[in-house]
């Protein structure tokens, strides 16, 4: 048995890693704001954040395709600034994945921040800690399980992305041909052997990751009794 082309696997891991890192950076402030705010727009922002959960990926993909098109304002602006189009590019795929996986980052983080409550943050404030200091030294360490869950879910969810990629990225080897697309293509061409290998890799990888997360979560609870 020969291995199929593993290019789509590496591309998928690359995309998932970039998406996860960027989403943790952008999603953390959003999740923190949602967990603390008493603003009236909170439900609207929450709904927007959760939208990718219920929207068919093709709908999200369709709107993004329209938005990314060089003839649109945003797409045209992007072409003028970077010289590249967003459609059918890796960058476009990253942006699409970030939107698609946003709830998988924001919701676990928001839940983790909310479960900490106000009281430890008040205690830190009374120990002369500034808001940023309080976040870094109290909220973030106490929410470390939330970060772990968010990172793993985002990563795993991006691995399985299909519909959005198909709409926005197409199927360009080395650029936008991710593993789920490759599997689909193998099945379409009745190349079940290669489809089996890629599918098995994805299955084993996802399962192993989840087992690791649950093990770590069990072994290192917050405030562990070392």
């Amino acid at each position: 048995m020969t291995l199929p082309d593993l290019g789509p696997l590496w591309l998928t891991l690359h995309l998932a890693a970039v998406t996860t890192i960027l989403l943790l950076i952008c999603g953390t402030p959003l999740a923190w704001w949602l967990s603390q705010t008493r603003s009236r727009v909170k439900p609207i922002v929450e709904a927007l954040t959760a939208l990718p959960l219920v929207l068919p990926p093709t709908v999200l993909g369709f709107y993004l395709l329209v938005l990314f098109s060089p003839t649109s304002t945003f797409g045209g602006f992007w072409v003028r600034v970077t010289g590249e189009t967003l459609t059918f590019s890796f960058t476009g795929l990253v942006i699409a994945s970030m939107l698609y996986s946003l709830p998988f980052t924001v919701q676990p983080l928001q839940a983790a921040f909310e479960s900490i409550g106000r009281t430890p943050m008040e205690a830190a404030a009374m120990l002369r800690a500034s808001p940023l200091d309080r976040f870094a030294t109290v909220a973030a360490p106490m929410a470390k399980r939330g970060f772990l869950t968010a990172a793993v879910l985002t990563f795993a969810h991006t691995l399985g992305e299909f519909g959005v990629v198909l709409m926005v990225g197409g199927n360009i080897p080395g650029k936008t041909k991710v593993i789920s697309i490759a599997i689909y293509e193998h099945v379409e061409t009745i190349n079940y052997a290669d489809a089996h290998v890629l599918a098995a890799i994805l299955l084993v990888f996802s399962f192993t990751t989840l087992v690791m997360v649950y093990t770590i979560n069990r072994r290192y609870p917050v405030g562990g009794r070392a």
Partner: protein, 367 residues
């Protein structure tokens, strides 16, 4: 001096406070649960964002119509009722969290605090593994290490049983006498308050009803309704002069000796003793053939009848004593202001929890 003039309105509760708080000694805020005492501490700390009005520490305005200093810049220490130690940090890390952020402020060192509160054996442990009393000590230590201008303590002993309380109180007395930091101490336990405080403020339904030096306020019959019948009682000051072989301690107060069950304190110690009004009996003539050992000559200052019972204020030398007797007895004894009489105090009636060191008002900087 801390000046507070604030209003805070909630649906079923309003806090209206216009009061100056002394910048020395221990000021106790005493009131029932729900009276607003904890909320007042939160307002002073800047944690209640809905409070309106003005708060200033000397010339330093913390809150007025245009400006609000955030809590972490007010330089206050706060001991929360539920300790709020950080669960993800050890005791040592909890202490250094405060210490690191207060490097530029004068006050006790890490070693001073660890020694004063006996924290050394607890340092490597996580808060979840500590007993309630140990957690309280750590929380108090952590608050001290912020080297605050004022320490706010919100019922730091409320979660502890009587034994644990008795363990912590001596630490608090030591802190009061050895650090210059003023303390605002919230409690609904009068025994605790009389042991610790120099100043007393009574708070009821979101308003301060009485404020003044503790001895004066407790001897004032006007505060009786706010305290509740069981908690009415003046404090007297006495010096421990002898430990008798039969297990009694002999103390000298303004009008003579009194005897109390053994008090564990060095000879010469100045003690403050709380005498509940319900434990005092009044006689017009010096009684004989009576089991009570403590018979103090006194003079009636005023009478305050309230239905079947009457609160009698007496002065015995420089001390004030309150006695609660029946209105019928007050009439039968023909008590009136100026009447000489004897205040009889049963030796065993004074609970150990009601005896504490007389607060030392000279502030020291070292623990």
């Amino acid at each position: 001096m801390l000046n507070v003039d604030i209003t805070l309105n909630y649906k079923d509760f309003a806090l209206n406070i216009a009061q100056s708080f002394p910048a020395s000694g221990v000021t106790a805020l005493f009131g029932r649960s729900g009276s607003g005492k904890s909320t007042l501490l939160r307002v002073i700390a800047g944690l209640e964002l809905n409070a309106t009005g003005r708060i200033a520490w000397g010339d330093d305005v913390w809150q007025d119509a245009r400006h609000r200093t955030p809590p972490h810049k007010r330089g206050l220490g706060y001991v929360f009722q539920d300790t709020r130690l950080f669960p993800h940090l050890t005791v040592a890390q909890n202490l250094s969290y405060a210490d690191k952020r207060a490097q530029n402020h004068p006050g006790p060192s890490m070693d001073d605090v660890i020694t004063a509160l006996d924290l050394a054996p607890l340092l490597p442990r996580h808060p979840a593994t500590l007993s309630g009393g140990e957690q309280s000590r750590c929380a108090i230590g952590r608050a001290l290490l912020t080297r605050p201008r004022m320490l706010l303590m919100d019922e730091p002993l409320a979660a502890l049983d009587a034994t644990r309380k008795a363990e912590i109180l001596p630490y608090l007395e030591r802190l009061r006498d050895n650090i210059g930091t003023p303390i605002l101490y919230v409690s609904h336990q009068m025994a605790e308050v009389t042991r610790l405080a120099n100043h007393l403020m009574l708070i009821d339904k979101g308003q301060i009803t009485h404020a003044g030096p503790l001895e004066t306020l407790l001897a004032d019959p006007a505060t009786a309704p706010a305290l509740g019948a069981r908690d009415v009682g003046a404090v007297i000051t006495a010096t421990l002069t002898a430990q008798d072989s039969d297990g009694l301690s002999r103390l000298t107060c303004a009008t003579g000796p009194i005897y109390l069950p053994h008090i564990d304190a060095p000879l010469g110690a100045r003690l403050r003793i709380r005498i509940l009004a319900q434990d005092v009996i009044i006689a017009r003539t010096a009684p004989t053939g009576l089991s009570a050992l403590n018979i103090l000559p006194a003079t009636v200052t005023s009478l305050h009848p309230d239905g079947a019972s009457t609160l009698v204020q007496l002065h015995a030398g420089t001390d004030q004593i309150l006695a609660r007797i029946t209105t019928r007895s007050a009439t039968a004894l023909a008590l009136a202001p100026g009447t000489p009489c004897f205040a009889i105090l049963k030796t065993a009636a004074v609970a150990p929890a009601h005896i504490g060191d007389q607060p030392n008002l000279v502030p020291h900087t070292k623990l």
